[in-house]
């Protein structure tokens, strides 16, 4: 196993080759097209450096929760979970077949390590608020939810951003992977939507894993955190 850890301007340069190979087994993409997986850097950094999860105990009540709200891009999450030993890598070879537990949108009841079934946009952030309320004061577990910049269009996110901010949910981190895929744009910036509701905000570039990991590790005890991660334009 070789691991490249130096920051790079090349997409996914910080992601080990064996993980890229696992992604390719999902997508069938032999060239490892970097533009295909906007979430790979974030998901790999989370599981490799940030989240406290144990594939031997995927139901540990004290585990950190990662919620892939943007469920239409599960290839990178599947590959990272397989790389970390949550399920056999062979599962990656027949995604969305009749006999596969892995679909084009993930189902939490079928896949160890997948915390929510997602696909329809705008569900992960409100669920993360409920998870936070249920976990805080009972465990130190964090709740990290990944959304896309276009997914923020869904009004349910605005509801959840306001509630999490007003309730001061320090155990919630929302990662917005911004690949500028939103049709109408966000004048003033995405982070401003969170900041005005009382969230701590940070920016990172997907390929700078050191900065990204630092931003994803940082929490504030009295308010939720939003990390806006710039990914390559047009990444799915």
């Amino acid at each position: 196993m070789t691991t490249t850890t130096a920051p790079s301007t090349t997409a996914h340069a910080g992601v080990p080759q064996h993980v890229l190979d696992l992604v390719a087994r999902v997508t069938g993409d032999e060239k490892h097209d970097p533009s295909a997986h906007s979430t790979l850097d974030v998901v790999w950094t989370l599981y490799d450096q940030v989240l406290r999860v144990d594939p031997e105990h995927p139901d540990d009540p004290d585990r950190d929760r990662f919620l892939l709200s943007k469920g239409h891009g599960p290839a990178s999450t599947y590959a990272v979970l397989a790389a970390k030993g949550f399920f056999p890598a062979a599962w990656l070879d027949d995604v969305a077949s009749w006999d596969s537990r892995l679909g084009h949108h993930p189902d939490r009841t079928l896949v160890p390590g997948v915390e929510i079934g997602s696909g329809s946009l705008g569900h992960g952030l409100p669920i993360s608020v409920g998870l936070s309320l249920g976990l805080r004061h009972r465990t130190a577990a964090r709740v990290v939810v990944l959304v896309g910049d276009a997914e923020l269009d869904e009004g349910s996110n605005a509801e959840a951003i306001a509630v999490a901010g007003r309730f001061g949910l320090g155990n919630v981190t929302c990662v917005v992977v911004d690949n500028r895929s939103d049709n109408l744009g966000w004048p003033g910036g995405i982070a401003a939507r969170f900041h005005v509701e009382g969230w701590a905000t940070a920016h990172a570039v997907a390929t700078d894993h050191a900065t990204l990991a630092a931003a994803l590790r940082r929490t504030d005890p009295d308010r939720p955190t939003a990390v806006v991660v710039t990914a390559l334009k047009g990444d799915a």
């Binding site: 009540p61 929760r65 189902d107 939490r108 009841t109 915390e115 929510i116 079934g117 329809s120 705008g122 569900h123 952030l125 409100p126 669920i127 993360s128 608020v129 409920g130 998870l131 936070s132 309320l133 249920g134 976990l135 004061h137 009972r138 009004g155 349910s156 509801e159 959840a160 306001a162 509630v163 309730f167």
Partner: protein, 322 residues
């Protein structure tokens, strides 16, 4: 939605300054609010999630259970999404607002954030069918039971008395399933067993037509069928329907009316499935779905307009006797 409804439809003896042990209310919604405090005492995993509606009427529960009653503002999508997250954290969410906002506005959240995540919740609605008659169509739904019943794994209770509602609340707060309890301002004079079964409450000649009343329709059905050669059965749990009980009571050649206080025909598929092995003549009586009643007035006015008062039910049931 409008918060004005909270004021205009407030319980008449909201317990803001009420004594610690007021007489048990006969209004289902008032009883629900009053019972939340003991329910949270008895069920340490239970939490309450609100979207403003009701928050002003449960101060005792809020004061005595800090951190267990969450009013998230007028945000019904997040209301159900938060409930899904709480359930994923091992909590037992009790979720409450008016029926159209709980079921229709947040329907995809009910489908995905609860059902698809394979977690449970106790949804408790107020404002059944035309309870909020003067508020107009925006505050009414007759389709809620049909919509919930169309999703996998739900139980629907439609109590007809505050004591029934209280018993269901205490029982289901300690459960794990997906449960919808539909509280109504319409009620029967006395409670009956809420055990999920169909109960024969007025017997008659063997083979006489059977009239099944659901929840708060019982007293109306009993009045409507006075002197008619029919039997009357009742249940507070239309979904899943007590199919075995229905087959036993209906007999080999059923002549049957089902009287429901919500969308007409909501239970038609369940009744047809229960009786698929025998020839049956079945009449479904409920809120007609084809036209919108653009009138205000009282719930009594709406019942009459829909043919759900005693006279209207009698007219419909009488057609089975010809």
């Amino acid at each position: 939605m409008s918060t004005a409804a909270l004021t205009t439809n407030a319980p008449t003896n909201a317990p803001t300054n009420a004594p610690a042990n007021p007489p048990a209310s006969l209004d289902m919604r008032e009883r629900f609010y009053a019972e939340l405090d003991p329910v949270l005492d008895a069920h340490p995993a239970a939490d309450v999630v609100l979207a403003v509606i009701g928050a002003g009427y449960m101060q005792r529960a809020i004061a005595r259970h800090p951190g267990r009653v969450f009013d998230i503002g007028i945000r019904e999508q997040a209301l159900v999404g938060v409930a899904g997250g709480l359930a994923l954290a091992g909590r037992r969410p009790i979720v409450h607002t008016f029926a159209p906002f709980l079921v229709e506005r947040a329907y995809e959240q009910v489908k995905l954030d609860l059902g698809h995540q394979d977690v449970g919740a106790l949804l408790v609605s107020a404002g059944a069918s035309y309870d909020l008659s003067s508020a107009g169509r925006t505050h009414q739904t007759a389709a809620d039971v049909a919509l919930i019943s169309a999703l996998p794994g739900w139980t629907v209770h439609v109590p007809g008395h505050a004591d029934e509602a209280s018993e269901l609340l205490h029982r289901e707060a300690g459960g794990t399933g997906r449960v919808y309890v539909r509280l109504s301002g319409q009620r029967n004079s006395r409670p009956h067993p809420v055990d999920g079964r169909l109960h024969l409450l007025r017997d008659g000649a063997a083979g006489a037509p059977l009239v099944v009343a659901v929840g708060p329709m019982l007293d109306t059905v009993l009045e409507a069928t006075a002197g008619l050669a029919v039997r009357v059965a009742w249940t507070a749990t239309p979904h899943p329907l007590d199919a075995g009980g229905l087959r036993a009571l209906a007999g080999p050649a059923p002549v049957l009316a089902v009287v429901e206080p919500y969308l007409e025909g909501t239970s038609a598929a369940a009744v047809a499935a229960a009786l698929s092995d025998r020839p049956a003549r079945v009449l479904h009586v409920g809120v007609p779905g084809e036209t919108e009643l653009r009138r205000y007035g009282s719930p009594r006015d709406h019942a009459a307009a829909h043919g759900l008062d005693a006279a209207g039910v009698r007219r419909r049931v009488a057609t089975l006797l010809t």
